[in-house]
């Protein structure tokens, strides 16, 4: 049985359909990359997977619990087994890095402070921030902040680890480090990993399977090689980085022609 299964997920904002009947299964222990362009509905899908939004219809079943219908208490219990690293890192600015990582341990477990301290140190060491625990998030660089948020996501030893745009706003070297970190933490902690991204290089590096999202529905779900070999025009366009025709001289000229012949200009 798959650890996450999405069935006929439909999300609408003000009549506009953002997700159109999605179906997806994520198996235990695999790395699933949700790949898609801007506005494809990646973030919306992620928010629905985390139970931050309720869909119009359809279901999201995680570890056998339908999070679109379950009670608040059940959702809370489930969330302890999910670690999330958001796009903007979202570290709590009033807390040090250490306190950020320790927060969930301190409040959701009854571990002794010494054990929490050790655990926090281990998690920080795992992301390469062993000596930076006493600093505040503002004092870290963008890449370090992302890694700190990964450490925080790992704090409760989750079964599922979710990343929203891990490499957004990072230079290629730091982005590659983060990819390594994702591969490393999956190998070490044996987790299911879900990554939302539009970065091709990082997607093909870390994925076991890729789900290609386009305008609210999946074009294809398959292994890296299957996606690479796909002949679907939209997937090909994305992989080969072919731009849509919005700024060619031809298109701009036709806009001008239309404007000049409009009644405002020539009454």
């Amino acid at each position: 049985m798959s650890i996450i299964s999405v069935r006929n997920l439909v999300v609408e904002y003000g009549g506009r359909r953002v997700l159109d009947g999605l179906n997806l299964d994520v198996e235990e222990g695999e790395t699933m990359v949700l790949l898609g362009g801007s506005g494809a509905g990646k973030t919306t899908l992620l928010r629905n997977l985390l139970g931050l939004e309720r869909p119009q219809s359809g279901s999201v079943v995680i570890k056998g619990v339908d999070i679109t219908r379950c009670s608040k208490a059940e959702l809370k219990r489930l969330r302890r087994s999910i670690g999330v690293s958001f796009q903007s890192a979202a570290l709590f600015n009033s807390l040090t890095v250490e306190e950020n990582v320790a927060l969930a341990l301190r409040e959701h477990t009854s571990l002794a402070p010494a054990i929490i301290e050790m655990d926090v140190w281990m998690k920080l060491a795992a992301v390469g921030l062993a000596g930076f625990g006493k600093l505040y998030p503002q004092e870290l660089s963008g890449g370090m902040r992302k890694r700190a948020s990964v450490a925080r996501a790992l704090a409760l030893d989750p079964e599922i680890l979710v990343f929203d745009e891990p490499s957004a706003g990072l230079d290629p070297i730091v982005a590659a480090e983060l990819d390594d970190l994702i591969l490393f933490s999956r190998r070490v902690f044996q987790m299911t990993v879900v990554v939302v991204t539009h970065e091709l290089a990082s997607a093909f590096r870390i994925a076991d399977r890729i789900a290609m999202l386009y305008q609210g529905s999946f074009l294809a779900v398959g292994t890296k090689d299957e996606i690479r070999a796909s002949q679907n025009p939209h997937i090909r366009q994305f992989l080969d980085r072919v731009p849509d025709n919005i700024a060619t001289t031809h298109v701009v000229e036709s806009f001008f022609q239309k404007y000049l012949s409009s009644p405002e200009v020539t009454p």
Partner: protein, 267 residues
Amino acid sequence: MAKFIESVGRDTLKRLEYVGGLSIGLWAAVRALRTTLPVIGNRYRWKASIVQMFQIGVEATPMVGLMALCCGFILAMQGGSELRRYGALSLVIDLVAIGFTREMGPLLTAIAVSGRSGSAISAEIGTMVVTEEIDTLKVMAFEPIEFVVAPKLLGALIAVPCLTVVCNVCGIFAGWIYMFFSTHLGLKLYVREVLDSLVLRDVVSGLIKSIAFAAIIVLVGCLEGFRVRGGPEAVGRSTTAAVVKSTFLVIVADMFFTAIFYFTEKH
């Protein structure tokens, strides 16, 4: 005409919706208040509440004190210039004492706190929304109301009445400064006159008001913060809205409370 009625209806519904949002917020925050209490609640919420008490109360003391001194002096001068004509200068003492404990003290404090802390609260929460920190709290299985709002509410509920007492004392002291310079009245005699003119009801009604004002300021600040959508400029707008709306609501609530105390008084 139909358009006008339509817009009136729409605006009315919007206002009602806002008041409804405030009531829901109040209910949720009051329910979460238990977790902030010492001993029976959560240790970390209690600590956060103490920090809030410092920020809302202690840090505002010099400013509120100075404002109260100025207002007390203003009230005494304005009252004195009229009462002197009737040879009733001693009534200035009653005017300042009763005016401050019943009305000026709670109102001045509330306006100062709404400018200082109401804006700070909405900016803090608004930033947390924009940087996904609120979402992070949710996926870490924390209740944002309990984590963010409840400590602020408890802090304000304790700090604002204390500030009001400080405000009353300073305002009444300023009344003595006026009396000293106009009639060489000694401080001892002045204090005795003040205590003679006050009844317990005056002080208690002022403190009840200040508790209500504290709740209004915190809830409006939090609601505005949580309503932030989009980017940093929305945070700025929410801060302005928090100050404007909370000051407005404080004055409206003041009117209702004063009316209640006026009509329940035995004449």
